[in-house]
């Protein structure tokens, strides 16, 4: 019953979030601010994670396909497809669910328990829309850039690890990452990331918005936001993969 209650309330919350903003000028200002807070501030962690992720994928692939019949460039090809298809969108989104999701839930949750959201409601402002919609739009705009950065850095990480350890020659790796390249894989990855951005921001916003009590409950809401948005990312990853690649 609790599950159905949250599904229903989440649907109504999302509807409220997409209500018409009071002032478009302020709304666009907020989007720009949130693009900085949620997107630009995440570039560092995305770069670090992607570099090491690419490196590990390359090394693991190399050690697992160490057979004479498999050409070395297959390491680059496998690393490229793993990074583009899965890691850069899904893993980066899971990381963002932790970083951005907890930030959104705790920010909005604190505003709820300190009655700042009530202030907006009393003024006649659509508080859910005012607080959450700029975050949704900002992350939807920023996440494709983060994913593309992640793809590039991941491949650089793979090349660095592969060539420095000597498991794959540089020219073979570069040939591998160009071999049988399917551009739609990037589109597929970006579509997924946009859906994940929507899930991260709305789920975190939902748990923050309906926080009650004090700091302990805000902490719980933040944890729930991260856990549930992570599960939803994995679930929608499965659904979107079936829909887009089948």
């Amino acid at each position: 019953m609790s599950f159905l209650f949250h599904i229903g309330r989440y649907a109504m919350f999302v509807k409220q979030v997409f209500g018409r903003p009071v002032k478009h000028r302020i709304f666009f200002k907020q989007i720009v601010r949130e693009m900085d807070v949620l997107g630009l501030s995440s570039v560092g962690i995305v770069v670090i994670i992607s570099f090491f992720m690419g490196a590990v994928i390359t090394l693991q692939t190399a050690y697992n396909i160490d057979l004479p019949i498999i050409p070395k460039y297959a390491i680059g090809l496998a690393a490229r497809d793993s990074i583009i298809l899965e890691f850069s969108s899904t893993i980066v989104s899971l990381i963002l669910a932790g970083k951005v999701g907890s930030h959104i839930a705790s920010e909005i949750g604190t505003m709820r328990v300190t009655e700042q959201i009530d202030v907006l409601d009393v003024m006649g402002i659509n508080s859910a829309g005012y607080l959450v919609l700029p975050k949704v739009m900002a992350l939807i705009i920023m996440i494709p850039f983060l994913v593309i950065i992640s793809m590039g850095v991941g491949i650089i990480g793979g090349w660095t690890a592969g060539t420095t350890t000597g498991v794959v020659p540089s020219d073979e790796f570069i040939y591998g990452i160009q071999y049988m390249f399917i551009p739609f894989y990037i589109t597929y990855s970006l579509i997924k990331s946009v859906v994940f951005a929507f899930l991260i921001t709305t789920i975190a916003g939902y748990w923050g918005y309906y926080s009650t009590g004090g700091s302990l409950e805000v902490g719980r809401s933040s944890t729930r936001a991260v856990v549930i948005s992570s599960i939803q990312i994995l679930l929608f990853n499965l659904i979107l993969t079936q829909l887009l690649l089948a």
């Binding site: 009071v22 009655e115 700042q116 009530d118 409601d121 009393v122």
Partner: protein, 250 residues
Amino acid sequence: MIEARNIIKSFDGKTILKDVSAVFKPGQTNLIIGQSGSGKTVFLKSLVGLHEVDSGDILYDDRDFTRMPDKDRIKVRQEMGMLFQGSALFDSLTVEENVRFPLDMFTKQKLDERRERANFCLKRVNLENVNHLYPSEISGGMQKRVAIARAIALNPRYLFCDEPNSGLDPKTAIVIDELIQEITKEYNMTTIVNTHDMNSVLGIGEHIIFIFNGEKYWEGSSQDIFQSDNKELNDFIFASKFFRKIKDKL
């Protein structure tokens, strides 16, 4: 004028407000008093629409707030100012930006005009040279005054104050009380103050409603309190030895 008619409000099957009716006139400080958990905050939040009532009517100058469509409700809400218990200032905005916030949202004034109005409101609550500071950088009493300045920025017709003195020292509490009373007279606002502070009750209580267990038990002025033989009211007002002595002397 605000009129509440037969307000009933429940949470999870428990009735918090039981058929409460009251009329709050403009130009005077209307107080809602009662013990913690008596339902006075629920009543105040029901009046401003933060809680939807189960039944009853709330009229703002004969406009039925409970039944009007959301579009009209937003217009009425823009005539309200509210001071919350914990000030509820926006942490990410400076003092001036907090006061300017309703002006930014609802007026088409130029930035200079909005700034001028924000500064006027801050001066009105005796705050100067704090415009650039954040709420965390000023005292609790100053935060309350900033919240009052924000509440009056749009020249509201109705002012609601939920426990404006909570967490303040007696001297600052009196300053806030007097400020609320002065502003009420100056702008002829309908002001409703939720409090359990006896200094406020006796100091600014021109019209007082006593809520006990979700019911309206008594209504009158601060002068009438001393003559009342309502047991629940007397137990509440004269709970301390000090106030009992004052009553005995009178």
